[in-house]
C-alpha cells in the first residue's frame, strides 16, 4: 500500500513526465529529475522498480 511519500513522489514524477513531453525547451532541470528517479530505484521494491524503469525509459525517449 503506497503511503503519502510514495504518492507525492509519483505525482512529482508525472509532472516531470508532463514537462519532458510538452515543455522540454524550458525544462532544463530534466537531468536532475532523472537522477532523482534513478536514485529512487535503489529504495523501492521489485514491482515499483519496473514502473520506474519504464518511466525513465519514457522520459529519455522524449528528450
Amino acid at each position: 500500500v503506497p503511503g503519502p511519500l510514495e504518492k507525492i513522489r509519483a505525482s512529482i514524477c508525472e509532472i516531470a513526465e508532463l514537462y519532458a513531453l510538452k515543455y522540454s525547451e524550458e525544462f532544463k532541470q530534466l537531468g536532475s529529475f532523472v537522477n532523482g528517479v534513478w536514485t529512487m530505484l535503489t529504495t523501492v521494491g521489485p514491482s515499483g522498480r519496473e514502473d520506474l524503469v519504464s518511466l525513465i525509459d519514457f522520459i529519455f525517449s522524449q528528450s
Partner: protein, 168 residues
Amino acid sequence: LPVCHRTISSSTMVCSPLLTPSLDGRLTESLPVLSLISRWRSQFRTDRLYSEINFVLSRFCQPFYELFGHVDRLLSTPASQPLPPNASIELLAQALLLLTELFHDLNSQDLPPFFEEHLDDFMGNEATGKEGWLRKYLSWERPELKGDVSDNLEFPLTSRTMMMCPDR
C-alpha cells in the same frame, strides 16, 4: 486560496477568497476549485476552456505559490522545533500532495507565464544553487510517511501514464 465555481445560470465564473494559507485540515475539504481544475487535464483545447483557465490562473497563481512556500517552510521545520498547533507531518504531506496535483492540473494544457517565471522555485537551478520544491520533495525522506513496503510496494503510477505507454 480563492474558490472558483461556475454559476448554474450562466457560463461566467465566480471566485471568492475563502482560504488563507493556514493548515488546520480545511484545505482538502473546502476546495471546490479542485473539481474544476482537475478536469483540465483531459479536456480538449477550446477557446472556452482557455478563457476559463486564464481566469482561474489570474487569481490562483499567486496564492498557490505562497501556499506552496508556506507548506515547504513548515515541512522543513527541524525536528527539535514544534509545528504550529493543529499541524502535523501527515496533514502537511497531504497538503503537499494536493499542491503537486494542482501544479500538474494548472500546467496540463500549456505552460502558464507565471510558472515559467517561477520555474527555478519549483524545479531548481543548479547554477544558482536553488533546490526547487518539486525536485526537493522527489528525493524527500520521511520514514513515517512511507507505505507498507513489506507488501511488494506498488509505485502508484496512474493509468494515465500507462495509457501513454501502451506497449509497456
